[in-house]
């Protein structure tokens, strides 16, 4: 962890939550608030104008879906950690955000301590993940592989040519999906919990890169991009 303050950008349309996140960041001495946006347009301005380490973003914005912004920021500034704010942490929202490039997510009703520790986890190179999300990520990756290994429980996933995950990463995801905590997984695999979360962040990045590659491929196919 660097001694400098972590700079944070908040994108949240609901005033109540905007205020709350603002307060949490401002009252935490290691964090520094860079800006607050209530919609996509404002967020775009701030993204173009300022520099930040972490972006807290709500997906449902009045002038559109926040996924575009996530994709943009993660492509332009891979060093930025993007954290999605969600009410339920349900798989659909979270997985699509991860595919766009988000590396973390928090529930809207999280306590101040949760928010701060989540930001710390991200800056330390880790990522949080719930079992349902872990399972969804596994499924998403298997579906990407053309359904080849879609129905099996072979350890380490299916054919290594298509599977972007390493055997260890797949194993971690499988344990997470069963409800095991970082500590427990660390014990089972003989690694530190910190390494486990680092693996998860790598998995998120791989999923995002993978889906970005696919998006480019599809766009080329549709004639939207010149190859």
């Amino acid at each position: 962890m660097s001694s400098e303050k972590t700079t944070v950008l908040i994108v949240e349309d609901e005033p109540e939550f905007r205020m709350r996140f603002k307060q949490i960041v401002e009252s935490e001495p290691t964090l520094e608030l860079i800006g607050v946006a209530a919609n996509k347009r404002e967020a775009q301005e701030l993204i173009d104008r300022t520099k930040f380490d972490v972006m807290l973003i709500d997906l449902g914005l009045p002038d559109g879906n926040g996924t575009d912004l996530i994709r943009q920021v993660s492509a332009k500034r891979p060093d930025v950690d993007i954290m999605v704010v969600t009410v339920f942490g349900d798989e659909q929202h979270v997985v699509s955000a991860i595919e766009a490039g988000a590396t973390g997510y928090i529930l809207k009703d999280s306590t101040a301590a949760d928010v701060v520790s989540c930001i710390r986890l991200l800056r330390a190179g880790g990522s949080p993940v719930s079992p349902v999300v872990a399972r969804s990520v596994l499924r998403a990756i298997r579906n990407r592989m053309g359904g080849a290994g879609g129905g099996t429980t072979r350890p380490g996933g299916a054919s290594p040519d298509n599977n972007p995950l390493s055997a260890r990463e797949t194993e971690i995801l499988q344990l997470l999906a069963k409800g095991m905590s970082f500590n427990e997984i660390g014990e089972i695999l003989g690694i530190s919990p910190h390494t486990v979360t680092a693996h998860i962040k790598k998995i998120y990045r791989k999923l995002a890169v993978h889906s970005r590659g696919e998006a480019v491929y599809e766009a080329t196919q549709m004639g939207l991009l010149r190859s």
């Binding site: 339920f88 798989e91 905590s181």
Partner: protein
């Protein structure tokens, strides 16, 4: 118009070319005849008798072999300088040929054992030095026995000219019957084979006609016969002609729609007369039969033709017209040949029936071929029809499957909606309503309100975990519960141990059971968190299977707290847990030792929903396996 005129001119030119007789070749018109000893030259005082050519003479069966010399004369203005030749187009008895006393060639003649009936022409070259200006004599020393004999078409002239005529005659007398006979053989075999496969009258008639034609062609191609067999050769000729005529008459009567038994027997009876009389008279009747019975056959076919024309006058089809025309042509050809043979018509280069016969056979075969083609077309059409119907059927099946699948989906959605409604009513709804009443009564502190709201949110998250699209994986949902409660346990200083390492990657169970089981575990954990004063709580998940029984899921929530006092074991929270367990067909047991801890044990029988596999939706069209799978998934 111009095209037509050009065509006419060309035709006229071609006709002129064909009809033009070589100017320098001479056709001899008369012959002198005298009987001699066999093989001997005529005596000087021999009695010569003059005849016009063509000459036709007969000898009764059984008469002895006789020697004969024929003398022909031709006058030349000057001896020729190029090679000269004599062409005997139709000298049926053959013989030794000499010119001005010098032999120029010998054609086999009849002897004691063999009869000859030359139909082929013979070309004999003459050394020009043998010829003189003025009269030249050609002698043919020959012999004959029983039968009908000819001398016709004797030409003298330059070899080059006469050999052209020879080629034409040879083709007409020999090659043409070969062609006709070969063609008829092929037809006979083909249609006989067809008939074996399918007993059809038309096919049988074509096969018979072809067979008779083969016999007839053979007659014309056999030129030397042993003496005793000559009469059989005549019989062959009669049978062939009679049979062919009967078949033609039957074909015509069928066309006329009069192919009744009696109508069919009468021609057959007439046709049998010739061969019968020939056998009975031992060949003596042949000249009379030739003159009377053979034209009768022509008349018989002509009567059949008249029937066909009269009855079919209104509804002639193209193929019937072809057959009728071909028979008409054949009748004309036969009549022409008869006329030539009787000497009523000028001598012809070739017999017309040699042409007309094979053509007639081809015409007879056309209706059969046409029917075959039509049947083939129908069969192909039927197959195409069948294919399209199968395709239609396939489409229908596919649509039915899609409808079925759609129905299943709708049903599943309805079931899910039902589940959500029920859950809202029992869970969140009741909780919110009762909380509202408490708040309105002012009976709750702010902290209590916050607590109630938090629990409501927890409950809602639990429901979302359980109801998430396609989520019947109990393991991940339980994991999520643990993930959410972990911070609270941490805050309370209680260690939460989760042991799921021996579990399969996924545990899919009946979607109806997911939420109740989640609630049971949540309740157990909440109880432990709130009341147990434990230092650690462990959740152990296990799937066990004994023999062939369905596997059992066991969830044990154990704490090392103060235990539950006897009177609280029947408390409301526990009663709720029990009723939930019963509702999903599981059992719940509670063991509590005061001072040592509490263990809640829930066991649940995994039914056919259970699988350790991840299901990915199949998007194949008509994949039977996928359909069965879907039935299995959605049916129960």
């Amino acid at each position: 118009m111009r095209t037509l005129r050009t065509l006419l001119i060309l035709l006229a030119a071609a006709a002129a070319l064909i009809l033009s007789v070589p100017a320098s070749a001479t056709t001899l018109r008369s012959v002198d005849w005298t009987l001699t000893e066999i093989g001997a030259a005529p005596a000087d005082d021999a009695q010569w008798q003059a005849y016009d050519l063509p000459l036709r003479w007969t000898s009764r069966p059984g008469e002895p072999l006789r020697g004969l010399t024929l003398r022909l004369r031709t006058t030349l203005e000057a001896p020729p300088t190029q090679a000269w030749a004599v062409l005997l187009s139709n000298a049926s008895t053959g013989g030794r040929v000499s010119v001005n006393g010098r032999m120029v060639g010998e054609i086999r003649t009849a002897d004691a054992s063999t009869e000859v009936r030359w139909r082929r022409p013979h070309l004999l070259a003459i050394d020009p030095s043998l010829l003189v200006a003025g009269e030249n004599t050609i002698l043919i020393q020959t012999a004959y026995s029983s039968g009908v004999h000819f001398l016709a078409g004797v030409e003298v002239g330059p070899l080059a000219e006469v050999s052209r005529e020879y080629g034409l005659r040879f083709f007409a007398s020999t090659i043409l019957p070969w062609i006709g006979g070969t063609l008829a053989t092929c037809f006979a075999l083909l249609f006989a084979l067809l008939w074996l496969r399918r007993h059809d009258a038309t096919i049988a008639l074509v096969a018979l006609a072809s067979a008779f034609w083969v016999l007839r062609s053979a007659y014309f191609l056999i030129e030397t016969v042993p003496v005793g067999a000559a009469v059989w050769l005549d019989l062959l000729f009669y049978v062939a002609n009679g049979g062919f005529a009967v078949v033609m008459t039957l074909v015509l009567l069928r066309l006329a729609g009069r192919a009744s038994g009696r109508a069919a027997w009468m021609p057959a009876l007439y046709a049998a007369i010739g061969p019968a009389l020939l056998i009975v008279t031992g060949g003596h009747a042949v000249p009379h039969l030739d003159r009377l019975w053979l034209p009768g056959l022509i008349g018989m076919v002509a009567i059949g033709l008249a029937y066909a024309l009269l009855s079919r006058v209104r509804k002639h089809e193209a193929l019937q017209i072809v057959v009728i025309t071909a028979i008409t042509v054949a009748i004309a050809a036969a009549a022409y040949d008869y006329g030539v043979a009787q000497g009523w018509l000028p001598e012809a280069t070739m017999l017309a029936l040699h042409w007309a016969g094979p053509l007639l056979l081809a015409a007879l075969a056309t209706p059969v071929v046409d029917r075959f083609v039509r049947v083939l077309r129908d069969a192909e059409g039927a197959r195409g029809d069948l294919e399209s119907r199968v395709r239609e059927r396939e489409q229908m099946l596919k649509r039915n499957y899609e409808r079925l699948r759609e129905g299943e989906r709708v049903q599943a959605t309805a079931a899910e909606r039902q589940r959500i409604m029920q859950d809202m009513h029992d869970g969140l709804g009741t909780q919110l309503v009762s909380s509202l009443m408490l708040v309105e009564r002012g009976a709750l502190t702010q902290a209590q309100v916050a607590q109630i709201l938090r629990e409501s949110i927890d409950d809602m998250r639990l429901a979302i975990d359980a109801l998430a699209q396609g989520n019947s994986d109990l393991l991940a949902s339980l994991g999520n519960l643990r993930y959410r409660m972990e911070p609270r346990f941490r805050a309370a200083g209680i260690e939460l141990i989760w042991d799921a390492r021996d579990m399969p990657e996924e545990l899919n169970i009946n979607p109806d059971a997911v939420l109740p089981i989640l609630r049971i575990v949540q309740e157990s954990l909440t109880n432990a968190l709130k009341h147990s004063q434990a230092r650690a709580v462990s959740v152990a998940l296990q799937v066990t299977q004994a023999g062939d029984d369905a596997p059992m899921l066991q969830i044990r929530v154990t704490d090392n707290g103060k235990g539950i006092a006897g009177e609280r074991v029947g408390g409301r929270g526990l009663m709720n847990m029990r009723s939930r367990a019963n509702k999903v067909g599981g059992t719940l047991t509670l063991e509590s030792v005061p001072g040592t801890g509490t263990r809640v044990k829930f066991t649940y029988k995994l039914d056919e929903y259970h699988t350790g596999l991840t299901r990915t939706p199949t998007q194949l069209g008509l994949n039977t396996e996928a359909i069965i799978e879907r039935f299995r998934e959605g049916g129960g």
